[in-house]
Assembly symmetry: C2
Homo-oligomer: 347 residues x 2
């Protein structure tokens, strides 16, 4: 099996190294042979080649069985709204070119971290949400530009029935293996793309009579997620709403530093932390590598079907937390200084 | 002064009556003469006239000095994505026709409600955020429709420099009267409208050298809002992001039932709770009327410049809460049954 390592920018470099080391250890332990290759993407790729997703990287991606990914981004571009080349273009192009239309973001709280969140423990306890974020459509990929002498900007959001149906089916099927509840989030009282979205999900529902389907407006969902996270099981939503809601939901898991995601479609899969490149903490050795470690676990489970190997990683993370080790983002006032790890040691 | 009362749908009817009564009492107490009129909007207007915003209502609105508004919406339309006439069309048309481009949503926690939120009291204590949500542009008002034989839906998001600048100025000016911090929220790493947004806010900044400006991506802002609400002072953002973030932020105030908003522009202003029509609790007498009461306070302050009258209402709400009275949404396990009010009694 070929695994491509794409650390990207900022703390992506630090945490992906830890994630990769975990893959190496697991392969040893279970007697697998994984072949690793590495490629550039994002700001580092722009610096090296002028292109945030060089052709060589894309070729290696297509040839891989799975990709362990870090993060892309750099403050330099964020503060220059007129920049023509940006790290994120590489990310979006990768998603589109590899057909990664389904982004799975499991939000699960390790018991040990019940106190690390800004939300009350009694509200959180027992929360377990699986997000399906559509990843290759919506306002991310429609035409965008300027008009009226550069004085007006526009972005076009678009969805086809086909696009909604394929992510919808994935979510319904996942709900079958869980608590049989699906919440579809849209803004059907305002957006035409949301009305199509709701039509398609409503049309699929009769094929899954065992699943209880609920439709929520995105504003209300943003509120309910923190008011009562336990009422959610599987959530399916469009690209932009998924981006916002999953970052928000990261607080349910105590820290963004704990959350892994899987982007899958028809061929290879990309596994990555939901956190970004975080240049403010890059190079300090304080980034939480567990999201990358848990991304490695997702990779083994989803792309390779190696359940036991995946569980082994999750148990190891659980044990590490039970033993009291913390990176700063999940430490609290009671964590002894010697239990606060740097990035490498946590891996 | 002419005040138009537009209760709208669902609990809008119940809570707006309470808000109006408060205006009547205050006018008595301070010796003002307000002239009231009433008009239909939303589902009730569709039932009566076929139009969610009848011409007669719009005429009355234009003639008013301020509008006390309830809510519009009905589940019937939400579950029928193909409905051609919808209550929300009336709301959006009102905002556009009256030029209500600035939606102010103050998120302030009454000390007494520190325990009512799902967020930990120590995280919340001292939070005080003023949102400026742009209200007449973005994906709400661009062209939308279907193509490819009804198999593809699209919505166009649009912003002009002029639109961003006028809401931006309002936000900068408000920051001057507060803690001098402005956070502008966008998704400039993906959206062209956001890049224009950021350009315009960056260009305004030198005119307000006393204000510290920060730019945040909407996904990150959705997370930071609940992780550390105290770091925000004034927040300015586009229509759709504002819709989502302010609903989320309602949890900072303990309950959506406590939050008022003001929509202002060049002429009359509209004052309304941020909660919706909530048909699930309509007619039960359990809706929290305080958002409408606080909307009346905002109306007196912003549209009529009656600061003392406005403060009197806010103090009365504070006293009511200090005395232990609660509607269900803000009650907790320790609230004695006789202190749980119905909608009317709370007013
Ligand atoms: C970096 C950015 C373009 C990206 C997105 O919005 O999809 C990120 O926030 C994510 O969630 O993967
Ligand atoms: C009812 C709906 C159209 C409206 C909006 O999205 O603006 C509401 O959510 C609001 O925030 O006033």
């Amino acid at each position: 099996k070929n695994i491509l390592i794409v650390p990207g920018d900022g703390i992506g470099q630090e945490v992906t190294e830890v994630g990769k080391n975990v893959l190496v250890k697991i392969a040893e332990k279970f007697g697998h042979e994984f072949i690793y290759d590495e490629a550039l993407m994002g700001h580092v790729a722009i610096e090296a080649t002028g292109n945030p997703l060089p052709d060589e990287t894309l070729e290696k991606m297509r040839a891989s069985d799975a990709i362990l990914f870090g993060a892309v981004g750099h403050p330099k571009y964020d503060n220059d709204p007129t920049a023509k080349v940006r790290p994120e273009q590489g990310l979006l192009k990768m998603r589109k070119e590899l057909g990664l239309y389904a982004n799975l973001r499991p939000i699960k709280l390790f018991d040990e971290l019940l106190g690390a969140s800004s939300i009350k423990p009694e509200i959180l306890k027992g929360s377990d949400i699986l997000f399906f974020r559509e990843l290759t459509g919506d306002i991310y990929f429609g035409e965008k530009g300027r008009k009226n002498d550069n004085n007006t900007a526009y972005d076009i959001a678009e969805y086809s029935r086909y696009e909604v149906e394929r992510i919808g089916r994935k979510a319904f099927e996942a709900a079958r293996t869980r608590n049989k509840k699906l919440c579809s989030v849209d803004k059907a009282n305002v957006l035409e793309t949301s009305r199509l979205w709701r039509e398609v999900i409503q049309a699929l529902a009769p094929e899954y009579p065992d699943i209880t389907v609920e439709h929520q407006f995105v504003d209300s969902a943003a509120m309910m997620l923190i008011k009562d996270p336990k009422r959610f099981d599987v959530v399916v939503t469009a690209n932009l709403f998924g981006d916002i809601l999953t970052d928000e939901a990261s607080q349910i898991a105590g820290s963004m530093g704990m959350l892994a995601s899987a982007s899958v479609g028809d061929s290879t899969g990309v596994y990555e932390p939901i956190h970004g490149s975080a240049h403010d903490i890059t190079g300090k050795g304080i980034a939480n590598p567990l999201a990358s470690v848990l991304s490695a676990a997702l990779l083994l489970d989803i792309s390779f079907g190696l359940k036991e190997e995946s569980e082994t990683i999750i148990s190891a993370v659980d044990k590490l937390l039970k033993d009291g080790f913390r990176t700063r983002d999940i430490a609290d006032a009671t964590t002894p200084a010697e239990m606060i790890l740097n990035t490498q040691a946590a891996g």
